[in-house]
Symmetry: C2
């Protein structure tokens, strides 16, 4: 069996859970009573049509070696997978994030299909939340987001939205119980790409060690590039897309450049507060969509690449940071476009593979970090969506962390907002929620700098 097939299960340890998470905030429909959420859960549980993906479990749950593939769980216990929780007083977003942090830091049970969904009540503003986690071997973050959108509706009057384990289309019949290749179940381009990483890593890693290939820039060592523990912190907040759009238009840069400049400003402020700002600028790994250059060959099928972006965190001036970031992103794209598809893949592979390789002993402590953190901007729903009449107010992605990458910023667009999710190692990244405040400051500074 090729190692790629079970990679996400094999590299998982207690300290490196390999699930992706998402936190959603909903406004209850009008007329919802105090037991609304319990009733919603009961109604949904009555729907026992479960998508094939959510019925699969590893064929050999106990052993850490010899995963033959998937098998179908014949005794699926929806009550276990779909849970009902509540926030303690005073029920602020802060309590919600604390609970999400806890859930995001525990491993999924390999005896069962690798997903959990938590409905959360008790927010003092009357809204409710949903936290879902799915193993990366089933779905990557992009595919998980796409699945979420597929069960929602843009019509607030619709009341027959499928449950999160369901689907709008009936699935084609397929033989049950036959173990399946793990990667055959991994949907989405990022999942397919990352599956190739070990092979690419081997070639690229050798090239790197023998100085035949050099990284396009140097990342400093920071407090984020350390071995991590198993516990997590998660913070989340939304900003109006219009504010980012205005800055982008005024500065003549892309919206993603503005987002990266927000992150750069926030990281700079956070590191100054922690007395840990390095002299050299931080380098972010930014997954980007790549158009395939040729139609033939398997390599060109991968539409996700990775750019390294100079975050200019050493510069105190927000406008200067934005300019450097925008230039760095343009350089990054040019770099890819001048390479052959194989070289592109190798370079992407090297960048991404550093993540895949990090649980190996010694990698973190003996090598320089290829980048300081991953910042992903994932396209989300363009229109306002509803779940059986409940308005979707926010979608906040919670990501996988690995040794040497103790913090991750992933954001998604949601109708008129940009929703940021920040995942950190609980031990290495104290006061993670401060980054939210700094993001807010950074956006205001960018607005001030470009308003002239």
């Amino acid at each position: 069996m090729p190692v790629t097939d079970s990679m996400f299960l094999l590299v998982e340890t207690r300290e490196h859970p390999m699930h992706v998470g998402g936190l959603q905030l909903f406004e209850k429909p009008e007329g919802a009573g105090p037991e609304y959420l319990g009733e919603l859960r009961r109604d949904l549980l009555a729907n026992t049509e479960v998508r094939g993906l959510f019925r699969r479990r590893p064929a050999r749950p106990v052993s850490t070696l010899g995963y033959l593939g998937w098998t179908e769980d014949t005794e699926l216990d929806l009550d276990y997978h779909f849970r009902h929780s509540a926030l303690p007083q005073p029920g602020r977003v802060r309590e919600l994030l604390e609970l999400t942090s806890r859930w995001h830091g525990t491993l999924l049970d390999r005896h069962r299909p690798l997903w959990e969904i938590h409905l959360v009540e008790g927010l003092r503003d009357g809204r409710f939340a949903m936290y879902n986690k799915v193993h990366h071997a089933l779905l990557d973050g992009v595919a998980a987001l796409r699945h979420l959108q597929s069960i929602l509706s843009d019509d607030p009057a619709v009341r027959d939205c499928p449950p999160p384990w369901g689907s709008r289309q009936p699935e084609p019949a397929r033989p049950a119980h036959r173990p399946r290749s793990l990667l055959a179940g991994a949907r989405g381009t990022l999942g397919q790409f990352t599956g190739l990483a070990p092979a690419a890593m081997k070639v690229a890693g050798e090239a790197f060690r023998e100085h035949r290939l050099t990284l396009p820039m140097q990342a400093p060592r920071t407090m984020f590039n350390v071995p991590i523990g198993g516990a997590r912190r998660f913070a989340a907040q939304s900003w109006p897309l219009a504010r980012v759009r205005t800055v982008a238009a005024a500065a003549g840069v892309s919206r993603n450049d503005v987002v990266l400049a927000m992150c750069a400003g926030a990281l700079r402020d956070y590191l100054i507060e922690q007395r840990a700002l390095p002299d050299a600028p931080l380098v972010a790994m930014v997954p980007v969509s790549l158009r395939p250059r040729r139609e033939d060959g398997a390599a060109s099928g991968n539409a996700i690449g990775a750019l390294l972006c100079n975050l200019a965190t050493h510069k105190p001036d927000p406008a200067a940071r934005l300019a450097t970031i925008s230039e760095s992103m343009r350089d990054g794209k040019r770099l890819f476009s001048e390479l052959t598809p194989l070289q592109t893949l190798l370079l992407s592979g090297l960048n991404v593979a550093a993540l895949g390789a990090s649980p190996l002993p010694g990698v973190v402590t003996n090598t320089r970090p290829p980048f300081n953190l991953v910042i992903s901007n994932v396209p989300g729903p363009r229109r306002q969506l509803y779940w059986n009449g409940a308005r979707l107010d926010g979608i906040y992605p919670a990501s996988v962390l690995l040794d040497g990458q103790a913090v991750n910023i992933t954001l998604t667009s949601n109708a008129d907002n940009l929703d940021f999710g920040i995942t950190g190692c609980r031990r290495s990244v104290p006061h993670l929620q401060r980054i939210l405040t700094h993001l807010d400051t950074a956006l205001a500074e960018l607005e001030a700098a470009t308003a002239a």
Copy 2:
């Protein structure tokens, strides 16, 4: 390093968490406001004097082999260990047990000291709960209960109870950072005894296989004696000690015999409901206190033995079941008293060791179960206790399960009550809470049978 030192960490897998748990129910003191629990938590968190036991973590958290011993956690994060949670609507005991089940089925993080405590608000009757879990390598259930009692007070006016990680007496100074033998930290006689089990098991296991030693009775295969998953169900309820005492006096048997007869009746009803009652009677392993017969020799130091008790679940008549149970317990005691101390130890070792050995592959499927479940009756507080004015209403022990032992009943006395905690494998033992109803019926039947 002897294998006994790190046994509880070495045998732990995702499917066999090796922590003991406890659920406590408290009545709030008069005048407590809506944020009482949050304030209690903040007040307690201000107390950063942490008992040595609760500062230790495994010296090598990542590897599953080569545990050298303990090291002191120099960055203890009390906020991580001591958590604040809430129940969803309608906030019944049922919702509390559901949450406890979930917590009891997840592993402790080995990067940190091996304990977690959850304060729970949102019970609709106004009470609050505490769930604590501690790794068996630190404390066994008996020692954990003793520790809990040591921080409480029998005076409702006392307001300076130490936090659960504290202690009333200042600890003797000891060198920090020096790795310590794991078993040196395991307090309590059961912990010490179980440490001896692997050696005893080897000898006894060989004797058993070679038919030189036979088990005193035959346990049937039941739905409880199967390989288990990692998820748990937990159910708990209290009964007045006076009711059990009355039945014991009327029948001329011990209170523990009545408790065992309650369990026998409940298990019989549960298995009938599940269409899984075996023809042969269930056999319980019952830990008992043993007086050492001789003063010299290390073997006699172990004051905990294990009896096998015939639960007479094949008999429909409650009085007949009680009589058989009482006789079986007397026989069991006689059996021990006729053996040499070494034979006693071996027999206890064989019984207990079957638990320790079960995570080894093949043990469950290839051998007959030596007993069907463990039923422990642990002495608890004799007087009504308070925690900073909050009245302790119940103490419900949540136990360790292992392959072949998918259900466990542990009870403790608490002032005027007997508090039962039932732990089950979530997959193998459906509708575990039904056992509570059946316990209630069984006690009523015993009362009716002995009232004449």
